[in-house]
């Protein structure tokens, strides 16, 4: 791996472009998908099937005045939306999209992503606190307790993966899963044992739920909760402040999906032993994203204490049991 400085910078520019387009068209997909689930058409007027709608929305957001209301902490208020974007964008840098397609190879990339994800939570906290709005304040408090509760099962699950592959490097984790879905960590019947293959789907589900909760998506969108807290931490934001929060949210979703793909779904590996490549990676992450959207438009929202109960009473015990069993299986087989 060369240490050329230009490589990460060019990648970063690519990620930024990707972030904008991704947020715009994932938003479009979400609206269309929600429309189809609800037996309506979704956006139709701007362009064919409303394809230009995201562009129109983006232009609208950019052309609006950046309003900083009276009584807000003006520095933190401006910092928060940026803070929502930066960690997500930075974590993209260590994600291996394919064999050698990675901005910067980092040995402890799994740890780095989790560290950055915790900063992402600060955006909601600061945005909520700085807004000086009581709903935003409640939202900030909620998001902290939620993130705290869900990082534990997530990390415990990651430890099982690390135990299986013996590495904290995302590229190595993905590389260890090459050669058909029977090698993937979600169902590692070939690379590990059948016993392991039975408990890993549970780990996958736990990790999936946690990543939905970490990215503040319905049914765990406690911080946003528009029917209770109006829009939570985003209540006072308009124009690109709101736009950055939204882009950050979608980018966080993408990072979450990338992580799941690498940790559980074999990264860029083709299923059934087909030759791998970046396209498989993209197919996998977008399938995961569609699932997240599908989940959002199916369930009602949970309630903050039920959400914490789910984490502390169900996800953490299950993930701990998984961890112990994995350790035992590694020792035995």
């Amino acid at each position: 791996m060369d240490t050329n400085i230009w490589r990460p910078i060019l990648y970063l520019i690519g990620f930024m472009a990707f972030a904008g387009i991704n947020a715009a068209y994932l938003g479009w997909c979400e609206r269309k998908g929600a429309g189809r689930i609800q037996r309506r058409t979704g956006p139709m007027e701007v362009g064919f099937q409303g394809l230009l709608q995201p562009l129109a929305d983006g232009l609208k957001l950019m052309s609006k005045q950046l309003l900083v209301p009276d009584g807000v902490d003006s520095i933190l208020f401006r910092v928060a939306p940026i803070l929502a974007m930066i960690p997500a964008l930075t974590s993209m840098a260590v994600i291996p999209f394919a064999g050698n397609v990675q901005a910067r190879a980092v040995e402890l990339s799994v740890l780095l992503i989790f560290a950055l994800a915790s900063i992402g939570m600060m955006a909601v906290l600061l945005g909520g606190w700085a807004s000086g709005n009581k709903y935003s304040l409640i939202s900030a408090a909620r998001s902290v307790s939620q993130n705290l509760a869900y990082e534990i099962p997530m990390l415990v699950t990651v430890i099982t993966i690390v135990m299986l592959t013996g590495s904290m490097n995302l590229e190595e984790i993905a590389a260890a899963q090459q050669g058909g879905f029977w090698n993937w960590n979600i169902f590692p019947v070939a690379s590990h044992s059948l016993a392991q293959a039975i408990i890993m789907p549970v780990s996958f589900i736990i990790f999936f739920i946690c990543s939905v909760a970490e990215t503040n998506r319905a049914p765990f969108d406690m911080a946003e909760a528009e029917s209770e807290l109006i829009a939570g931490h985003m209540t006072e934001y308009g124009s690109m402040g709101f736009g950055l929060f939204m882009m950050g949210e979608y980018l966080n979703m993408v990072v979450g999906a990338c992580l799941i793909t690498i940790l559980f779904l074999g990264g860029w590996d083709g299923p059934l032993g087909l030759s791998g490549g970046i396209w498989w990676f993209l197919v996998k992450i977008y399938l995961l994203l569609f699932t997240v959207i599908w989940v959002r438009w199916t369930y009602p929202r949970t309630q903050i204490y039920k959400l914490l109960n789910l984490s502390w009473k169900i996800l953490i015990p299950f993930s701990l049991v998984n961890l112990l069993l994995t350790a035992a299986f590694i020792k035995v087989f």
Partner: protein
């Protein structure tokens, strides 16, 4: 979940929920004193769309108040039509032809269906579920199309007249109604019960939340599904039969759990009972005139009269005081949600904000009806 509220007075803050808030379905404001996310004190503030309908009633003659009735509870407008007609008919001693009574029952029950469907949709929206809204609206739209066919309007009906209804129903309406009931029956188990009622998230959010005991319900004068969810078997259609309701075989769903889930289940069961009533009424529909001969200007004898009907939200009473002139001397509207909401302050104390909003949704508030 009940966590005892213990806080210092200076640690609470006041949160104004509304008048513009997505969960208050209109312009209700609730002044909440909060300790973190727990509610220490809740105080509904009403009157943001108060229109003084009672004064308007005194101004015009009896018939001229008719369009106003539909504009209070816009979700169950025909029941308000019906209640006012009953009060005036009782005062003036007007007999209503049987066919008209049947048509009234059919349309009122269809309107009740729309009201419950919309409540269901909006309630799920309060809880953050979006898709059910559109499914319920799909069904509701079918009823509105049918009602538009005979009444000419879709929301604020002015269809009933003293001594009958504005015009007769036709065969296409009858066939359409049968078809609609068949359709709703086939959709209810899947799209309503499997998707929502059985959902673990919904159950966890509603079970044991918003406990309104039987005694509390009585002391606050709750009626309708709110009372029936607290184990009170009270339905004006059964307890104080009016129109041709005694001729139909239907049950009054009563749940004893006293929580939001019970109120939810009462309304879901009522949808089925309303469909039963409509079917029976269509089967038995007699021939004959739909309107009695009534003088254009009514002058009921002096005295005061009360008439109650069961709307989708409970017991709606009209107290009509006449002095022998052509306009009501006084018309008191007893709106069910006004009483139902009055328990909110007591019940919401110590609740979480999100639970309080779920409880508020389960009360099925229609603000114009509260404010009148």
């Amino acid at each position: 979940m009940s966590v005892p509220v213990q806080c210092r007075h200076d640690e609470t803050f006041v949160l104004n929920l509304g008048p513009q808030h997505p969960a208050t379905h209109g312009v209700l404001r609730v002044k909440l004193t909060m300790d973190g996310e727990y509610i220490v004190k809740a105080e509904p503030v009403l009157g943001y769309i108060h229109r003084m309908h009672e004064k308007m009633a005194e101004d015009g003659n009896f018939a001229q108040f008719m369009p106003n009735t539909a504009r209070m509870d816009y979700l169950h407008a025909l029941a308000y039509n019906h209640g006012y007609c009953l009060a005036v008919e009782r005062a003036a001693g007007i007999e209503v032809p049987e066919r008209a009574e049947y048509i009234r029952v059919i349309t009122v029950e269809m309107n009740r269906l729309t009201s419950h469907l919309l409540w269901w949709a909006a309630f799920l929206l309060d809880l953050g579920g979006f898709s059910p809204l559109l499914y319920a609206f799909d069904d509701r739209e079918q009823i509105l199309d049918l009602l538009e066919r005979i009444t000419g309007s879709r929301l604020t009906y002015c269809y009933f007249r003293f001594g009958g209804v504005y015009n007769d129903i036709d065969d296409e309406f009858i066939a359409g109604t049968y078809a609609f009931i068949k359709r709703l029956r086939s959709r209810l188990p899947r799209l309503y019960h499997d998707l929502v009622t059985g959902n673990i998230i919904l159950i966890k959010r509603l079970k044991g939340i918003g406990m309104l005991s039987k005694e509390q319900a009585r002391r606050y004068g709750c009626t309708g599904p709110v009372a029936r969810g607290s184990g009170i078997n009270y339905d004006v259609r059964k307890n104080e039969p009016y129109s041709v309701y005694p001729e139909f075989d239907f049950d009054v769903p009563v749940y004893n759990e006293c929580d939001s889930m019970a109120r939810y289940m009462v309304r879901m069961d009522e949808i089925e009972q309303s469909m039963r009533i409509i079917e029976q009424a269509l089967d038995k529909l007699p021939d004959g005139p739909v309107r009695a001969k009534v003088p254009k200007i009514l002058k009921p004898a002096a005295g005061d009269y009360w008439a109650s009907v069961e709307t989708a939200r409970g017991n709606l009473g009209h107290r009509l005081v006449c002095d022998g002139k052509k306009n009501p001397y006084k018309l008191k509207l007893r709106s069910p949600t006004f009483s139902n909401l009055s328990c909110f302050g007591e019940v919401a104390e110590g609740m979480l904000l999100a639970d309080a909003l779920a409880f508020m949704g389960s009360l099925d508030l229609v603000i114009p009806e509260i404010d009148r």
